[in-house]
Symmetry: C2
Subunit: 190 residues, 2 copies
DNA sequence: CGCGCGATTGAGTAATTTCAAATCTAGTGG
DNA sequence: CCACTAGATTTGAAATTACTCAATCGCGCG
């Protein structure tokens, strides 16, 4: 348990420096939470009180269209942050689902807590600023890949970026992430 | 000219509060710049020293694929921020183009300046954090729209979100933004 | 051993792209 | 003011690609 908090501290310290006092102030704002495979972290319509830092496990955030098809926004694994950020930040009902592909464990941070620690500890404000910038850049890359690449090229790119992910999740979820049907994906790649 | 700086200050003050002293500190970091239609703000391969806040005008950021097709990442208009954020933040050569669809005017902010004003003025760090969060959410929505909606639905959504944009830009650019060929777009919508 | 889920394969259908040509429009210079 | 030209839009038809629906195969778990 203590180990997990150390992991979190090191995660912050990848981007910013923290004194022991600052860390002591921040730490209690993170609440431990565990879920088992197939359980939901967030469901559409719910209020979203927290964002989550993943200690262990694997989740997906996704939307279901009117035909019942699942479209995956993000695979979230160890050391990733996940939430319905639109709902979380603008305090609106969730419009996506987030559930566990594997048994998972997180630290939950509420919006009030986040604003408090950002206000009290400038380094944390900077951490979230930099993290968000990086997230923004990643999403831009994803958009460009959706616009410029074929699903097959996107598959290989994902394979390169997260080689182990392909092993960890069923291929139909990979298809739902890449934006093709599972049959089409199956006909690609050798 | 003074008016433009007032606009910028009001833009910050939409999200955070600034004292006159803080503003006086920040303001000189923004350098005025103008470009005419068809001129480039950023070209691939270049170093990207600045991000830009658009005072007036309209730009597009985009990539060109190996077949020579243009794919638009963003239309950037008045009060938007634009840059190649990957290149800018990670100090790498640009991988996208940004050019002017109309005569445009900006404030340029260098990376060093941004880090300085974020360090000296916490409200500004918070501004960029919140702005970046909002940008992240917007991009997530775009990704979901690319995964779940047809190009025709995306067209109508864009029409709703930025009605005047459709008038201001050639339809082939709209197509390049939506992810379909101009011919296909032309066959949609009545 | 059999059930259920995931992955693969096949065949027909729908949608989009590509290439080509025709039409339309706005800006330029005479 | 008009003719001209380049760019933008539309339309047609063929070719490509992906989707849908259905059936089969494979494997792990109870």
């Amino acid at each position: 348990m203590n180990d997990n908090y150390q992991l979190l501290r090191r995660h912050f310290e990848e981007l910013v420096e923290l004194t022991d006092e600052e860390w002591d102030f921040i730490r209690p704002h993170f609440k431990d939470k565990k879920l088992k495979k197939r359980q939901f972290l967030i469901q559409t319509g719910q209020q979203v009180e927290h964002e989550y830092w993943i200690i262990k496990g694997l989740l997906k955030s996704y939307a279901i269209d009117e035909k019942g098809n699942e479209h995956i926004l993000q695979f979230a694994l160890e050391q990733y942050w996940v939430s319905d950020y639109n709902a979380f930040q603008n305090q609106q009902p969730a419009s996506i689902y987030v559930d566990c592909i594997e048994d998972s464990e997180f630290f939950a941070l509420s919006l009030e807590s986040r604003e408090i620690i950002c206000k009290e500890v400038p380094a944390i404000a900077n951490f979230f600023r930099l993290k968000s910038n990086n997230g923004f850049v990643s999403l831009q890359k994803r958009i460009l890949s959706l616009l410029t690449q074929t699903a097959e090229e996107r598959y290989h790119a994902l394979e390169e970026k997260l080689p182990h992910l392909i092993q960890r999740v069923p291929k139909k979820l990979i298809a739902a992430y890449l934006g093709v049907s599972r049959e089409t994906l199956s006909r690609f790649k050798l």
